[in-house]
């Protein structure tokens, strides 16, 4: 079964390796460039020394230089990857077998279709998770300098780091797998799977924003900061680089700051990933159940 899975899905596996290689090279280039810039402008030492308070202008220009521009292709790519690669990996597993009639060949050998599917899903899901985890690791490294001076709670880099990509990719895979079983057509299942992935994307984007973990605190301030402080002030008035400030209310010699702390990154990651995985599990369980029930 392992050989069969490899032989039937090696084209997709090689496509993924190609994508991984291209992104890795690009990310390596951008990451090295960012690092040299980060260190040469005395940005790194300044951030380490003052938490960004002494070099707000440098942080701003560094952020402007890199957060758009060179990393933009990667950011766009990462929005498309889970749906696209999930569809490419998921749709053929059942869709092509049903479309070409080869299911009659595959499920009339000596391996029951339950085991056939279990081995295939096990291998493909493992490969996808390893692929996505590697990609996330590469991106986390490349994004390192930006992470030190910017907010990780919104995409990018929220969707480049942590467990977002593995979970989203599995979600795309599961939905395309189920679409293949229902539509009995590879291309149709790819398209349907891709667009179905937009539903959990919308849910996670709308329902699990940083505002879910928003909190308030009162900050004492003096002088100009009291008057000019805003949500865009660098470093954030909440006190830490990486905090996302949602609102600032001026009240005499103190500020009421509504913000999402940088530490909300992992709770947000798990919540988002959990939603993706719920969709993935529901789709895969449905596919397994339907496969046992109706196979005509």
């Amino acid at each position: 079964m392992i050989w069969v899975t490899w032989r039937q899905h090696r084209a997709q596996a090689l496509t993924m390796l190609g994508v991984l290689a291209i992104i890795a090279v690009y990310a390596l280039a951008v990451g090295l460039w960012m690092r040299s810039s980060f260190n040469s402008d005395d940005l790194g030492p300044c951030v380490a020394r003052s938490g960004g308070a002494d070099c707000a202008a440098t942080i701003n220009s560094f952020f402007q230089q890199f957060n758009r521009g060179p990393v933009m292709p990667l950011v766009i790519l990462f929005f498309l990857l889970p749906g696209f690669l999930g569809a490419v990996a998921g749709a053929p597993v059942l869709g092509t077998e049903l479309e070409r009639g080869t299911w009659q060949l595959a499920w009339s050998q000596t391996v029951p279709r339950g085991r056939w599917l279990a081995v295939k899903l096990g291998l493909i899901i493992t490969a996808l998770v390893v692929f996505a985890a590697l990609l996330s690791a590469i991106m986390t490294w490349a994004w390192g300098p930006l992470d030190e001076v910017s907010i990780r709670l919104t995409p990018p880099p929220f969707n480049l780091e942590g467990i977002w990509l593995p979970c989203a990719l599995l979600c795309g895979f599961g939905l395309a797998l189920l679409a293949g079983l229902l539509l009995r057509n590879t291309i149709g299942a790819m398209v349907a799977g891709y667009f179905a992935t937009e539903i959990p994307f919308l849910i996670t984007t709308l329902a699990v924003g940083p505002n879910v973990f928003s909190t308030t605190k009162t900050v004492d301030c003096t002088g100009a900061l009291c008057r000019t402080a805003s949500t865009n002030t660098v470093p954030p008035v909440s006190g830490h680089l990486g905090d996302l400030v949602n609102g600032v209310t001026h009240a005499g010699n103190h500020l009421v700051v509504s913000y999402t702390p940088a530490s909300a990154f992992w709770p947000m990651q798990f919540l988002t990933g959990g939603i993706f995985l719920t969709f993935a599990a529901a789709a895969i369980v449905s596919a397994v159940w339907l496969l046992h029930r109706r196979t005509t």
Partner: protein, 317 residues
């Protein structure tokens, strides 16, 4: 297999039925086929032939009843049941991007009983290189690769669904000759489904006639031919005055041609006494007569034939 295969039917269906939504694709199908030889499964398109095969392989689950291959129920989807039956589906599906060698590797990976030597020997005999991709092969060659896959699985029962429908006349003959040879060599029980009755004539030892999802006739071909006769009788003669059961009656101006199911000695005595002309029935004529009967009519199931001599060949069901 540990069972005494001589006493267990190769194929046995018991009130087997499959419903697709509100429509029964197959219903109340009961028969038993002894091991060895070639079974013809005849019926028009949509008669339920593919449904019966898919149920036998375990690709479909029955709505009611069951079907067993050498005593092992097909529904189970267990390796033990699956190892007993090879299936060549209609249009002989293969992975088009695979080479022939890949197809065999696939077979070897999924079947513990896989016979690689047999597979390679057949390809060598047919002159099909193992390195060729399936999609570059002709239809006849693809059918041969698919048949080889089914044979190399080394299952005691081989099911072929319209195996030659897409082949040219030469390839048809070659294919059927190979099936017969394989059956003879290894004692395979081969079930061939076809809507072309002439194709199965002189080929099969056992006949199943299916129409409208109902089994119309089941029995050993020799018994069926011996147990039927075509009588030419005066037109005014009532069915009740004829020996046995009337299967089909064609009236002309003065005479009627009647196909009856009756023991041969009964037919001989009756024909002798009344001066009717009695003729043996042909394979195609017999199958067609049963196919023309309305599907609602009770199946014959060779009941009158138990008494017709070679009862030993018929497996009690």
């Amino acid at each position: 297999m540990t069972q005494d295969t001589a006493s267990v039917p190769a194929l046995r269906a018991e009130r087997l039925g499959k419903r697709y939504g509100p429509v029964w694709g197959l219903r109340d199908c009961t028969f038993a086929v002894p091991p060895g030889g070639i079974v013809g499964l005849v019926g028009p398109n949509g008669a339920g032939k593919t449904t019966l095969l898919a149920l036998t392989v375990g690709l479909l689950a029955p709505t009611e009843g069951h079907v067993a291959v050498f005593g092992q129920r097909s529904r189970a989807q267990t390796p033990l049941a699956m190892a007993r039956v090879s299936y060549l589906a209609q249009d002989h599906p293969l992975y088009r991007g695979f080479t022939v060698a890949d197809m065999f590797h696939f077979g070897r990976s999924l079947n513990p009983s896989w016979d690689q030597a047999l597979a390679e020997a057949r390809m060598a005999a047919l002159g099909i290189p193992l390195t060729r991709k399936v999609k570059t092969l002709s239809g006849g060659q693809q059918a041969q690769v698919a048949l080889t896959m089914a044979l190399a699985k080394r299952a005691p029962v081989l099911l072929l669904d319209e195996p030659v429908a897409s082949l040219d006349p030469i390839a048809r003959l070659d294919f059927m000759r190979d099936v017969v040879a394989a059956s003879a060599e290894s004692g395979l029980t081969v079930l061939i489904a076809s809507h072309v009755i002439a194709e199965l004539e002189r080929l099969c030892d056992w006949l199943l006639v299916l129409n409208g999802g109902r089994l119309q006739l089941a029995g050993a071909v020799d018994d069926l031919l011996a147990g039927h006769a075509v009588l030419t009788v005066p037109r005014q003669l009532a069915d009740a005055d004829l020996p046995g059961r009337v299967i089909e009656r064609t009236d002309s101006d003065r005479h009627s041609t009647v196909l009856v199911a009756a023991a041969p000695e009964l037919v001989l005595v009756a024909a002798d006494r009344a001066g009717w002309v009695a003729q043996p029935v042909g394979f195609e004529q017999l199958a067609l007569a049963y196919l023309r009967r309305p599907p609602g009519q009770a199946a014959s199931l060779a009941e009158p034939l138990g008494s017709v001599g070679s009862a030993g060949r018929a497996v009690a069901s």
